[in-house]
Symmetry: C2
Subunit: 311 residues, 2 copies
């Protein structure tokens, strides 16, 4: 068996390709019903910010969690594409000069470096809005009750009590307001911050699979626990990459967290402690999937992939 | 009869007050199901950007169009509050230094002057996201099919083919990109730009009333035509205020359009021509409402109010 192209990687890549193709079609130059025109510069900036990159790990989670319930793949891909729009908008806005002031993203100039700040702000706004457009479409699910549940859950995961709130806590922890020095956060505070900033979208990805598949309450709970463990593992791996990663592999500047005084689990637990915690989280993720038996093998591999990634 | 407090103004004020109270409750410090916490600074900035000001004309349109179909007022107020969140987020982002760089809004410091750019960007993102949270709630309408239709229509009205797209066209017309001089747009181009930038949300307000009220296709068409005329009138009145208005009444800097080279109907038609067009639009709005008979009197007054406003 060729370990270079594992079944896991080929499924991850297949979902990445399908997500890319779907976003490419959805973000065409042609207006849809209810739109007057799609300005070329805005479409270009939105496409620049959402196409041609990324592992599409969030769509992968949606697709594979939905597959547990035999949800048609095209429905899960729509929900995954919507989620990816939210993820990509958040990167565009986080990279802005007034936020993290980053020049590189996935090895390319950030949106505001490529298009200017005004266009980057609008491209981010457009992608966030487009996520809800996608979720509202019949192609996402035939039942409007399922679609509106997805809208509600994505809004909560990405809004003031989720991702946007987490970003605000992160900037506050850096000491960005009222001339404060960086705050030294405790483990629980860092955990809450990260559960909001990155965890909420990853948890939504898993929960969305259950919503699309009309999962039972017990199955939903299992997906929620899995998503929560994967979300924590993802952020710790990210923080370790910032500390130890190779910028040419990571595709963005590294070593910035320590300089900015970012609150991370690596900061709280040390690098060795963070690596131990990563192992625990992978075990938690695996355990959460017990109710699904062997059908969840790919999701267990997904958790391991998150913990071991080098980019 | 006391012309100072007309029945129209008292109904406009009543909806403004109810909208204010509702947003005040919705934007409380207490997280709801699916949220981990609501960071105090973010809640403060979102409240600053959405409470305590404005005529709430968009919610008024939702409420009064919904009232044509005897929709319970609390449903229409929820949809109006969601729409107001989108409107307020757009003001916060449009005021940013990289966009219109405004210091004053409704006579108060703009969000980024009060809280800094990073917080203003996040507050805008939070308000946009919150709009879809509100629409997804049972309190907006008991039928999920109606709620998802509202989500779809609001996303289209405010996204790349609506408001955000219009803002992009507006910046392009100012000559903000590629070192161009301001473009001299023709009447049709200005009309498309404004139909997207401000018209789309006002039209949505009217259409939302019909969606909430399960209007017939003919009734929907009437509301769409009314909303379109009111949207155009609103923007022309706004541009006339920028040209001729008193900044102490308007609550923001005036005379900026000419300096920025903004594309407006005043620019295309001249002030006298724009005023004549305003009159025509009010007549169009009135004519569109014919199918609703005397029940639509308040909406006719609304169109006149938009055309005659001084602030």
């Amino acid at each position: 068996m060729n370990s270079q192209i594992s079944p896991f990687i080929s499924r991850l890549d297949a979902t990445a390709k399908d997500t890319e193709d779907l976003l490419d079609r959805l973000l065409s130059a042609t207006p849809v019903d209810g739109e007057l025109s799609r300005p070329a510069r805005l479409v270009k900036a939105m496409r620049y910010s959402s196409l041609g990159g990324g592992k599409r790990f969030r769509p992968f989670l949606v697709v594979e969690c939905a597959a547990l319930f035999e949800v048609p793949r095209q429905h899960a891909l729509m929900a995954g594409a919507a989620l990816e729009c939210v993820h990509c908008y958040s990167l565009v806005h986080d990279d802005l000069p007034a936020m993290d002031n980053d020049d590189l993203r996935r090895g390319q100039p950030t949106a505001h470096r490529a298009f200017g700040e005004a266009t980057a702000i609008l491209a981010g706004d457009g992608l966030l809005t487009f996520a809800f457009d996608i979720l509202s479409r019949l192609q996402t699910h035939p039942d409007p009750a399922v679609r509106i549940e997805l809208v509600s859950a994505l809004a909560r995961a990405s809004g003031l009590g989720g991702m946007v709130g987490g970003q605000m806590l992160d900037l506050a922890a850096e000491g960005r307001f009222d001339g404060n020095a960086p705050q030294r956060l405790g483990e629980n505070e860092v955990r809450t911050l990260q559960a909001m900033k990155t965890g909420a979208l990853l948890r939504f990805a898993c929960e969305a699979g259950g919503m699309l598949g009309s999962a039972t309450p017990l199955q939903r709970k299992a997906l929620e626990r899995y998503g929560s463990a994967v979300g924590q593992a993802f952020q710790i791996a990210d923080d370790l990459l910032d500390l130890e990663g190779d910028p040419t592999l990571v595709g963005k500047s590294t070593g910035k967290d320590a300089v900015a005084g970012k609150a991370t689990m690596v900061d709280v637990l040390g690098a060795a402690g963070a690596k131990a915690r990563l192992k625990e989280l992978v075990a938690e993720a695996e355990h959460a999937l017990t109710p699904f038996g062997r059908g969840a093998a790919i999701l267990i591999e997904g958790a391991k992939f998150v913990a071991d990634r080098h980019a």
